[in-house]
């Protein structure tokens, strides 16, 4: 049995769809952020797998994933800083209750 490209794309597709589901249904801001991480991670897997299977001599996909991981880390750190600030002001991080800035 050969393990082809598709065998790697399907788990990553399922992971991405889980991220979409969580992003839509969750109410807690941190849970939404966790779903976002799932989606980013699925995309990273795709980059690496395409690099490994289609262009094994080059490193483009690997370095794209490397930079994507760094950007995801920066984004998460900043988002958590914002969430903690919101919690300090509103005592709550439920997205349904945060309507202060709606006009």
């Amino acid at each position: 049995m050969d393990i082809t490209l598709m065998y790697y794309l399907i788990p990553s597709l399922i992971m991405f769809c889980c991220g979409v589901y969580g992003f839509i249904t969750r109410k807690n801001m941190i849970a939404i952020l966790i779903s976002l991480e799932l989606m980013l991670n699925a995309v990273d897997i795709n980059f690496v797998v395409f690099n490994r299977f289609l262009f094994p001599g080059q490193l483009e996909g690997m370095f794209f994933t490397l930079f994507a991981i760094a950007i995801a880390a920066a984004e998460t750190a900043l988002a958590i800083a914002i969430i903690i600030n919101i919690f300090r002001v509103a005592k709550n991080i439920d997205v349904r209750d945060l309507t202060k800035m709606k006009f």
């Binding site: 082809t4 065998y7 991220g19 991480e37 690496v48 299977f53 690997m62 930079f67």
Partner: protein, 170 residues
């Protein structure tokens, strides 16, 4: 043709990725959700190792599993009591989410499966040494990444300053 060991390894990793990512979004305790995310990230790192990208797997463990998940756990413990459950979902919202996710799964899955015979097995790759990774990261020629590397370092600096400014006590 792959060896039996690598096929078994692949299936363990694939099952772990699928099961833990489903559990991440379906469990109602937020701290458990973060823990399942950690397992998913570890499975992803194992996938990178099995694809011969050792450096990337190490980065995945160090940055994601070591940094981001710890950040998540800290912020969860700061913003909610441990043992808090999120309330049950309204069925309308759940149906909407399930519909979006399943529609995407079916459409993309069909597009993938209908072309499953186009792909060949894993081609051979010369071992990726740290020397080559370092030269690619530090070079300025074609296919080398000094400028993005510097841009990322500036971004991380901005992120540190931004995080401190946003989260500090006034």
């Amino acid at each position: 043709m792959e060896s039996v060991g690598s096929i078994i390894l692949y299936f363990v990793i694939a099952v772990a990725i699928v099961v833990f990512s489903v559990l991440t979004v379906t469990t109602r305790k937020i701290l458990r959700s973060a823990t399942y995310l950690l397992f998913t990230l570890f499975a992803t790192a194992a996938l990178y190792f099995s694809l011969d990208y050792e450096f990337l797997g190490a980065v995945q463990i160090a940055v994601y599993a070591g940094g981001i998940v710890v950040l998540f756990v800290f912020s969860i413990l700061l913003t909610s009591k441990p043992g808090d459950k999120s309330e049950k979902l309204a069925s309308k919202k759940r149906v909407l989410g399930l519909f979006a996710a399943l529609a995407m799964l079916v459409v993309s899955g069909y597009a993938l499966v209908s072309r499953c015979c186009m792909f060949a097995g894993k081609p051979a790759m010369e071992a990726l040494t740290m020397h080559k990774v370092g030269e690619t990261l530090m070079g300025t020629g074609e296919g080398e990444y000094l400028l993005p590397f510097e841009a990322i370092s500036v971004l991380l600096l901005a992120c540190i300053i931004g995080g401190v400014v946003v989260a500090r006590k006034r």
